[in-house]
């Protein structure tokens, strides 16, 4: 029998405002999963590989979904994507790129590295809220 695992969304974004707006937008669309945030790839990587960051440790009975920004200090989104896909313990975690970059080369690069989806943060708040709402609905039907 498949084990039921609680889902947690991890937002990795160095911009505190963006992270807060994303969390809020998802909650408003009805996402009821726990949401946590790291501000760069280094913190995320420590967490994913078993370390403790801000008192949080990766739990075996939880399924994680990543919302990953690209331009971040220390370890950036592309580096994290590369590391996660190469490591068996992080290989299966779904990764959704959520970034302001809409450069087609960058998008292609992320897909080649193995991201599951790529979403551009729209500047216009109405579109941004709509994007998050759809993402929230998508996350709710996602089976992990």
């Amino acid at each position: 029998m498949a084990m039921y695992r609680e889902i947690e969304i991890i937002i990795v974004d160095d911009d505190e405002g963006h992270a807060e707006l994303i969390g809020e937008g998802l909650a408003e669309s009805g996402v009821s999963y726990a949401i946590s945030r790291f501000s760069n790839g280094e913190e995320l990587w420590t967490f994913l590989t078993g370390g403790t960051v801000f008192g949080k440790t990766r739990a075996a009975d939880r399924a994680y979904i990543l919302l990953l920004d690209i331009n971040m200090p220390k370890v950036d989104g592309l580096e994290i994507l590369t590391r996660m896909k190469a490591n068996p313990s992080t290989h299966d975690i779904p990764i959704i790129m959520l970034t302001t970059t809409d450069d087609p080369l960058e998008i292609g690069h992320c897909y080649r590295l193995g991201c599951n989806a790529y979403i551009t943060k729209p500047v216009d708040f109405a579109s941004f809220a709509e994007t998050l709402r759809r993402l929230g609905l998508f996350l709710q039907i996602l089976k992990l």
């Binding site: 911009d15 405002g17 807060e20 708040f125």
Partner: protein, 447 residues
């Protein structure tokens, strides 16, 4: 005089032959003779005029020929006139040079005496004549043909137009477009840089804008929330509701609204910083250089003195060797070296003492200056984007910058018709090499 006696003799002779004497005037056949004389004199006049006209037109033709020959030879374009050579079946197989101008000889190094009469295949030592089919088509009355070719032995680019002055003859006019092609390449490169610059700038400006819009929307919701609660309080619907609403109102005023405002203001400041940085870059780009001979020893010493505090604080050691002078704008070169030294100090490795070595040498037309540090170095994957505006390899509170330092370094070096390059090993340090002309130059005459 022999001439007049000759005329007299001829006159007498003519009178004798046609029997024109004083007495003959009365004779009946006189009008007939007179008519013939008039006729002969008329044709004589016509012949004289014709000869004069022919001489004049021959002279004019010679002048025109000379004019065109002079034009042909003084043209900067290489011109050759060639004849299509055909095999037994009439198939074009080669070209024979009939004429060439001085530019042809000057640029190709082939003398006219050597070229004229030769087969193109022998002259250029090729087994197959490029574009021969097109040449033949033009020679058979087709439209003129244009092509561009890179001449490997002359290392130059030519734009060639092929026309046919008459059947089976083609003239090819080759214009040297090497400089034009280079200018074009440079323009394309500048264009790419500009596009990238715009892309990066707009992208970086978008990020704070997402926050400003998002938190403004939140602020607007919070205000509606306040309005709704005030309405409830005014209506006075029950004590419990009032107390709860008051707590919520206090929270909105004391926590939520200030938080939204803080996000908005922080991001407005962030946008302001970015726009100021863009203006700095743009201003540097538009500055007119005040070019003169620059004592680089004095200049770099000034820069180091300006960083005395940071150098002391970081315990860095600066090793400065004798630097050659160069030509450039003192203020901008000061800015360039300030940016490089500031970076060296900023990106030092906490694990070891920082040593910055500044040295220089001269190679033919340029002075090279090396700024070498024992800092954290740069990972090779970051090198291609290093000079991009707003690009920062790593940013946190300690190394806060606008991300325009190196793009300004590059811009200043290029404004000096020089260049800047970097070699770096992560964990070991970086070497920045700046090349600046050692001769006076004109900012407008590039390349």
């Amino acid at each position: 005089m022999p001439a007049s006696s000759e005329i007299l003799d001829t006159e007498t002779l003519r009178n004798k032959i046609i029997g024109l004497g004083e007495k003959s005037i009365r004779k009946s056949y006189y009008p007939e003779l007179q008519r013939r004389i008039d006729e002969l004199e008329g044709s004589n006049r016509r012949l004289t005029t014709e000869i004069r006209e022919r001489n004049a037109s021959e002279e004019a033709l010679r002048e025109t020929n000379e004019k065109y020959r002079a034009l042909f030879d003084t043209m900067t374009e290489m011109v050759t006139i060639q004849e299509i050579v055909r095999d037994g079946s009439g198939k074009p197989v080669d070209l024979r040079v009939l004429e060439c101008n001085e530019s042809f000889s000057r640029i190709s190094g082939i003398d006219a005496t050597e070229a004229i009469g030769q087969l193109a295949s022998e002259l250029y030592r090729v087994s197959e004549i490029p574009y021969l089919a097109e040449f033949a088509r033009v020679a058979e009355g087709g439209d003129p043909f244009f092509y561009e070719e890179w001449n490997q032995s002359l290392r130059r680019n030519f734009a060639v137009s092929v026309v046919s002055p008459k059947r089976d003859i083609v003239a090819s006019i080759a214009t040297d477009v090497t400089d034009l092609s280079r200018a074009m390449d440079m323009l394309c490169e500048k264009n790419r840089e500009l596009e990238n610059y715009l892309y990066v700038a707009s992208h970086d400006l978008r990020s704070p804008l997402v926050n400003i819009q998002g938190f403004s929307a939140r602020l607007s919701r919070q205000i509606s929330d306040i309005a709704a609660r005030i309405k409830v309080i005014k209506g006075g619907e029950g004590d419990v509701g009032d107390a709860g609403d008051m707590v919520e109102l206090a929270k909105l005023f004391e926590e939520n609204i200030p938080r939204s405002l803080e996000f908005i203001l922080t991001n407005v400041q962030k946008m302001d910083r970015l726009i100021n940085a863009l203006l700095t870059v743009s201003r540097t780009g538009r500055l007119t250089l005040n070019v003169k001979s620059v004592d680089m020893n004095a200049l770099v010493k000034n820069v180091i003195d300006a960083f005395a505090f940071q150098i002391e604080q970081s315990g860095a050691k600066i090793e400065l060797s004798d630097l050659p002078p160069c030509f450039g704008d003192e203020n901008l070169l000061n800015q360039l070296f300030s940016n490089l030294i500031a970076n060296a100090l900023k990106y030092r490795d906490a694990a070891r003492p920082l040593v910055v070595t500044i040295s220089g040498y001269v190679t033919s037309r340029t002075a090279s200056y090396r700024v070498k540090d024992t800092g954290i170095g740069i990972e090779s994957k970051h090198l291609p984007r290093l000079w991009d505006v707003f690009f920062r390899v790593n940013w946190d509170s300690e190394t806060k910058g606008d991300g325009i330092g190196l793009s300004i370094v590059k811009m200043i070096a290029e404004k000096h018709q020089g260049s800047v390059s970097v070699e770096s090993t992560a964990g070991e340090g970086s070497v920045f090499t700046v090349e600046i002309p050692v001769v006076r130059f004109d900012e407008r005459a590039r390349g």
